[in-house]
C-alpha cells in the first residue's frame, strides 16, 4: 500500500505507467453465477417464508419463550464447559500419544479407543446410574479388601456431572485425534530449531509447535464445537434441559412440531454464526506470518 502510494508520488511512476498492465479477463461466467445463485437463494427464501407449513407465526411466538431461552443458556453453558474439558483432555492425550513412551502411547490409544468407541448415550446412562452398578464410590483395596472411604454414587453423580463426564471424556477422545493431526502437520525442523535454542519440551510444545499446528486444529475444532452445541441435546436423557429438549417439551404438548423445530434450528444457526465469526478471527490470528499477501489461485 505504502509502495503503491510511493509509485504515485515518486520517480518510478512514469516508467511504470508505460509498462502494460495485465487485467483480469471479464468474468461473464461469474456474473451469470451470481445471478443464478442469487436467484436460487431468493427462490428458497421466498418459498420458505411464504410456505404455510412453516407456520411463521408460531415460530415467532416461541422464539423468545422463557423455556427456550433457558434451554439456550444451558446449551451454551454445557458446550463451553464440555469443550474446555475436552480440549484439556485432548491436549494431554495427544501429547501422550506422541511422547514416544510406550506406556503413555498405550494409555492414550486405549483412552481414545474406548471413549471414541462407546456411544455417549451409553456413557451417560452409565455415569448417571453408577449407583446401580457400583452402589458407592469407594476408596479402598480392591478385590474385596477393606474400604477406607465411600460416597453413595447417587449423591456424587448429579445430572450435570454425568453429562460433563460423558460428554467431556468423549470430546476429549475426539479432540486428542484432532490435536494429534495438527501436531503431525508441523515440520520436524521447527521442533529441532526450538530444541536447539534450549527450549524445554513444554516450551517447544506451547511456543513453537502448537501455534503452528493451530492452522490445522482450528477448523476441525470448530466442527467439534458446532457439533457439541447440537450434541448436548443427548444430555436430556439424564434430565438436563437444553435447547432441543425445551422445544421438544413444547411441541409434545402443542403438536406444533415443524415450527418448533424451526425455532431450534434458528437458534442453532444463530449460535453457529457467532461461533463461525469467532473461528474466523482465531484462524486469522494463527495464520499470521503464513499468508502470502499477494497470492492468487489455490
Amino acid at each position: 500500500m505504502s509502495a503503491r502510494l510511493a509509485m504515485d508520488t515518486k520517480g518510478p511512476s512514469a516508467a511504470m505507467s508505460k509498462a502494460p498492465e495485465i487485467v483480469d479477463p471479464p468474468r461473464f461466467g461469474r456474473w451469470i453465477g451470481v445471478v443464478l445463485v442469487g436467484g436460487v437463494m431468493a427462490w428458497i427464501v421466498f418459498q420458505v417464508l411464504t410456505n404455510p407449513g412453516f407456520q411463521w407465526d408460531v415460530v415467532g411466538r416461541y422464539l423468545l419463550n422463557a423455556g427456550v431461552l433457558k434451554g439456550v443458556a444451558m446449551t451454551l453453558q454445557l458446550t463451553v464447559i464440555v469443550m474446555i474439558v475436552g480440549l484439556l483432555i485432548g491436549i494431554v492425550v495427544a501429547v501422550m500419544r506422541m511422547s514416544g513412551d510406550p506406556l503413555l502411547i498405550f494409555c492414550a490409544h486405549a483412552f481414545v479407543w474406548f471413549f471414541r468407541g462407546t456411544p455417549v448415550l451409553v456413557q451417560l446412562v452409565f455415569w448417571y446410574n453408577l449407583a446401580a452398578l457400583f452402589p458407592a464410590i469407594e476408596i479402598g483395596i480392591p478385590f474385596g479388601g477393606p474400604k477406607f472411604f465411600e460416597i453413595p454414587a447417587t449423591v456424587a453423580i448429579s445430572s450435570f456431572t454425568a453429562a460433563l463426564l460423558g460428554l467431556g471424556l468423549n470430546e476429549g477422545a475426539y479432540m486428542a485425534e484432532i490435536i494429534r493431526a495438527g501436531l503431525l502437520s508441523v515440520d520436524n525442523g521447527q521442533t529441532e530449531a526450538s530444541k536447539a535454542l534450549g527450549h524445554k519440551p513444554w516450551q517447544t510444545f506451547w511456543i513453537v509447535v502448537l501455534p503452528q499446528a493451530m492452522k490445522a486444529i482450528v477448523p476441525p475444532t470448530g466442527n467439534q464445537v458446532v457439533g457439541m452445541l447440537k450434541y448436548t441435546s443427548i444430555a436430556s436423557v439424564v434430565a438436563l434441559y437444553e435447547l432441543m429438549h425445551s422445544v421438544e417439551l413444547i411441541y409434545s404438548r402443542t403438536f406444533e412440531t415443524v415450527p418448533l423445530l424451526i425455532v431450534a434450528a434458528l437458534w442453532y444457526l444463530f449460535l453457529v454464526s457467532i461461533l463461525s465469526v469467532i473461528q474466523y478471527f482465531i484462524e486469522k490470528y494463527y495464520s499470521k506470518g503464513w499468508h502470502r499477501q499477494d497470492d492468487r489461485g489455490v
Binding site: 511504470m16 487485467v23 479477463p25 499477501q293
Partner: protein, 280 residues
C-alpha cells in the same frame, strides 16, 4: 569431470547468429509483494542457448524475477515473453488479459525451475519426484521416464538414492535432486535459483558441467547465483540486479571482471582479481 573445461566453447556460442527474437524478454517488470515494491521496472533478455547469470545482493529481487518469468507470480505491470509468447497473459482486444491457471500450466511445462529452497515433494521418493511430471504432463511411459531419471541421477551423483525420500537426504543431495527433477521435463528454458548454494566445490563443478552440456544442446538458462567464480565459468551474459532493477548487464567476462557501475564494483569487491591476490 574434475578438470574444468575452460570457457573455450562459450566464445563460439556467443558469436553464433543471435537471429531475431530473444527466447526470454522481460520488459519493464513491476512487482509488489506485500508492502514492498520489489521489482521496479526490470528489463532482461536471453537469447536461445544463452546462459545468463543473475547476480546481486540479497533481497534485490532476483528470486522474485525468476518467479515472474514462469508466472508462479504474475507481475503487476510489464510483460515477460518466452519464445515470443507473453507469459501469464494474452493480448485480447488491445489489453493483456490474464490466463487461467490451466492455460498457465501449459506455459510452465516448458519452463523448468529449481527453487532456492528446493521444494521437493516430501511424500514421493526421489525417483517419483523426478518421473512424475514427465509421465503425467509429457505423457512419457514409465520406462522412458525412469530411464532418463536414472541418467540424471547418475549425472548428479545420486544413483543410489533413487528410492530414498527427500527428508532423508542431506542439503546438497536435495539440491541435486531438485535440479534433476527440473531437467527431467526437458524444458526449453531453465531457471535456476542458486543451484549450487548447498554444494561443495567439487559438485559445483559437476553442476557446471551439466549446465554446459545443456547449453550445448541449445537450452536457454537463467541462473541466480552468488558464486562469482561459478558465474564466470558458466555464463555468457551477466546481469547484476540491485534494489529491484538491473544495474548492469553484458558479457559475463566484462561485467564480472571490469564492472562499470560502482554498486557492482562494491558488490563484487571480494572476488575481483585485485582483492584475490591480496587475500590468498
Amino acid at each position: 569431470m574434475n578438470s574444468i573445461p575452460l570457457n573455450a566453447d562459450r566464445a563460439s556460442r556467443m558469436t553464433a547468429p543471435n537471429t531475431d527474437e530473444p527466447l526470454v524478454r522481460c520488459e519493464n517488470i513491476w512487482k509488489t509483494r506485500g508492502h514492498n515494491l520489489v521489482l521496479k521496472g526490470v528489463d532482461l533478455k536471453a537469447d536461445k542457448g544463452e546462459v545468463v547469470c543473475l547476480l546481486g545482493p540479497s533481497g534485490a529481487g532476483k528470486s522474485t524475477l525468476l518467479r515472474c518469468i514462469n508466472a508462479i507470480e504474475l507481475a503487476d505491470r510489464g510483460l515477460v515473453h518466452v519464445d515470443g509468447v507473453p507469459i501469464g497473459c494474452t493480448l485480447r482486444n488491445g489489453t493483456y488479459v490474464r490466463l487461467t491457471e490451466s492455460q498457465l500450466s501449459r506455459q510452465r511445462a516448458d519452463i523448468g525451475m529449481v527453487f532456492q529452497n528446493f521444494n521437493l515433494f516430501p511424500h514421493m521418493s526421489v525417483l517419483s519426484n523426478i518421473i512424475d511430471a514427465p509421465m503425467r504432463i509429457r505423457g512419457e511411459t514409465r520406462a522412458a521416464a525412469t530411464e532418463r531419471a536414472h541418467e540424471l541421477l547418475h549425472k548428479v551423483g545420486l544413483s543410489e538414492k533413487a528410492g530414498s525420500y527427500p527428508r532423508h537426504l542431506s542439503g546438497g543431495q536435495q539440491q541435486r535432486i531438485a535440479i534433476a527433477r527440473a531437467l527431467a521435463m526437458q524444458p526449453k528454458l531453465m531457471l535456476f535459483d542458486e543451484p549450487t548454494s548447498a554444494l561443495d566445490p567439487h559438485l559445483t563443478d559437476e553442476v557446471l558441467d551439466v549446465i554446459k552440456g545443456l547449453a550445448a544442446t541449445g537450452m536457454t538458462m537463467i541462473i541466480v547465483t552468488h558464486e562469482i567464480q561459478f558465474a564466470r565459468d558458466v555464463a555468457d551474459t551477466a546481469a547484476v540486479m540491485s534494489d529491484g532493477v538491473i544495474i548492469e548487464m553484458g558479457p559475463a567476462r566484462d561485467v564480472l571482471s571490469r564492472p562499470t557501475d560502482p554498486r557492482t564494483r562494491t558488490f563484487l569487491a571480494r572476488s575481483l582479481p585485485d582483492h584475490q591476490q591480496q587475500a590468498v
